[in-house]
């Protein structure tokens, strides 16, 4: 007796995926947002596992703390050579002056702490300018193509080959040495790199089938760029930004060191400018040279480490499948 086959017509079943639903969902938009928050938490969790990234983050956090709370950590009067808190000139580190004093008797520790503010601020602001200009140009060039791309890319190339230092010197001479000049110079010389990277990514995204599908659905350019292209370029922008900040801070230090920064304000670069100008390295006044230099190295390193860690996590090609 053969068993009768019973027809089992399975309906399309969902895969065995565990979907966590915390409370009754309100609207799909809210659900999607909650889902995105969960994704962000996942990124954070993975980031925590990355030792290099965590180390960078901790170092950066320290410097940000110092920058914000500078007035509490060191008396601003200490920047003024006529202030009574100044001590004997060119003193090696003592208990009262843990990093010694400069040739005007100011505490190097105070100088370094306050220098954090300027260096970080200049770095961040010029990076913001770079990212805004670079991303916009890269987006337009990559998305629209044709004459817009040609014009913008030739312009980018032009700016790309501008030599950094001669331009900086010329502009500083014209505009007067100040940190605004520094910000301006770094901003207009760094954006081409970003523009090229963004444009390449946009070109690749533009031809993805889901972008075509949205176009076939009737999406406007604005919708395509904001809903499909930017979110997928986003991680790249983020990782790129972090690395650019590192470069910006380094550039600021270079320019200040060369005397193009604001002589009235203290940044790590100006400290180095003064110390080298006074011949500190040759006179053996190491406490005046090493702290600002070390600070620059550490901040740049921290940004770089964070940038690489982010790239590892967010770049799907680098992520091991």
């Amino acid at each position: 007796m053969r068993p009768q086959p019973t027809s089992t017509q399975p309906v399309v079943t969902a895969p065995a995926v565990h979907i966590e639903v915390k409370e009754p969902p309100r609207t799909p938009r809210k659900i999607a947002r909650a889902r995105r928050k969960a994704a962000a938490k996942r990124v954070w969790r993975e980031y925590r596992k990355n030792k290099m990234g965590m180390a960078g983050l901790i170092i950066l956090a320290i410097f940000i703390f110092v920058a914000i709370f500078a007035p509490l950590l060191a008396n601003s009067c200490g920047l003024d050579p006529t202030c009574p808190s100044t001590g004997p000139q060119l003193q090696p580190p003592t208990l009262k002056y843990p990093l010694g004093t400069d040739d005007l008797g100011r505490s190097v520790l105070t100088l370094t702490i306050w220098g954090t503010r300027i260096s970080m601020t200049v770095g961040l602001v010029s990076t913001a300018i770079t990212m805004v200009i670079g991303t916009t140009i890269g987006l337009i060039a990559g998305y629209y193509g044709a004459w817009r791309e040609t014009v913008l890319m030739r312009m980018t190339d032009w700016f790309l080959v501008l030599p950094f230092l001669p331009l900086a010197i010329v502009l500083a001479t014209l505009l007067g040495p100040s940190f605004y000049t520094v910000i301006f110079v770094i901003g207009i010389t760094s954006w081409p790199g970003t523009a090229r990277v963004i444009r390449a990514q946009v070109l690749s995204l533009k031809t993805r089938p889901y972008v075509e599908r949205a176009r076939a659905l009737g999406a406007s350019d604005w919708h395509l760029v904001t809903r499909h292209i930017l979110p997928n370029v986003g991680p790249l922008i983020f990782a790129n930004t972090v690395l650019i900040v590192a470069v910006a801070i380094l550039s600021e230090s270079t320019l200040s060191f060369l005397g193009l920064g604001d002589p009235l304000h203290t940044s790590w670069g100006t400290i180095l400018e003064n110390s080298f100008g006074a011949g500190a390295p040759f006179a053996g006044n190491w406490w005046w040279v090493i702290p600002p230099g070390l600070a620059i190295v550490l901040v740049v390193l921290s940004f770089t480490m964070i940038g690489y860690a982010l790239d590892d996590i967010l770049n799907p090609k680098l992520r091991a499948r």
């Binding site: 053969r2 068993p3 086959p5 027809s7 089992t8 399975p10 399309v12 065995a16």
Partner: protein, 334 residues
Amino acid sequence: MSLLSVRDLFVSYPTQGGPVPAVRGVDIEIGKGEVLGLAGESGCGKSTIAGALLRLLPTGTEVTGSILLNGEDVLGMKPGRLRAVRWTETSIVFQGAMHALNPVQRVGEQIEEAILIHQQAGQREARVRVGGLLEQVGLPPRRIRDYPHELSGGQKQRVMIAMALACNPSLVVADEPTTALDVMVQAQVLQLLNELQRDLGLAMLFITHDLSVLIEVCDRLAIMYAGRIVEEGPARSVFYESAHPYTRALAAAFPAIGEGRFRKAPSGLPGDPPYPQDLPTGCTFHPRCPLAFEACPHIDPGLFDVSPGWRAACLLVDSAKPVLEGAPTHGHGQ
């Protein structure tokens, strides 16, 4: 004695969640000059078998069972012997072979490489042989000096076939050799493979997801599902009279043009091929099977004889009736 004899082959890939079985107990037998077709969909393990035959799977993969090539156990070979065997006794035409050509090296040199590595000939003699090989695959010998980008898809595939034949193997494993090609070019390549097989007396293991292609070139067919062979037998019988419901469904995806019963009557299986990590209990096909009954989720069928030389892994197979009761068949004129 058969050229290739595979018994109880098990292959597992290491993953973060533990080893995942891609091949779960497969037996294959290919005699001299015989052509066996291996068909199945994604995740069934057929490409894994191609790699396993010459131990070309990534390190960390667990392979157990026995693979006898001309009586020698491949899995037990020392590296030196394995390298000597590779390409001279068995060669492979890989999936996506067209992309396996070095874009900065002339095509002729790449074929020569195979001959030179196995020291089968000196430089000059190798060059002559390569010219002969290209002719054999239907390309003019002057193409030796071309770079890959100067060739079309079909021509590149012919170069890959020539490369596979370079050291006169007795067994050629073709893994999806015509998948990315146009229908016309595909037909040309299949015709070529057919001729070469006849002229050179080659044994072939032809792996593909396109069942209809196998009918043209193969003597025997084996259908894989979820890491196992679920039906194997003479090509015509398996395709037109399928004993296993999965074979029937797969064959229905390649309808015969002109047969009225296929007009406006597409048939497919619900659900999807299972992931190797997540196999159903009992018969792995039962969730999608239109003929499944109470016993199916509980019993994992082995291969039952449908008739001599034809077996299927289905509880409904009764050796007295090679055709499933009550189900319409694919073939032309029963």
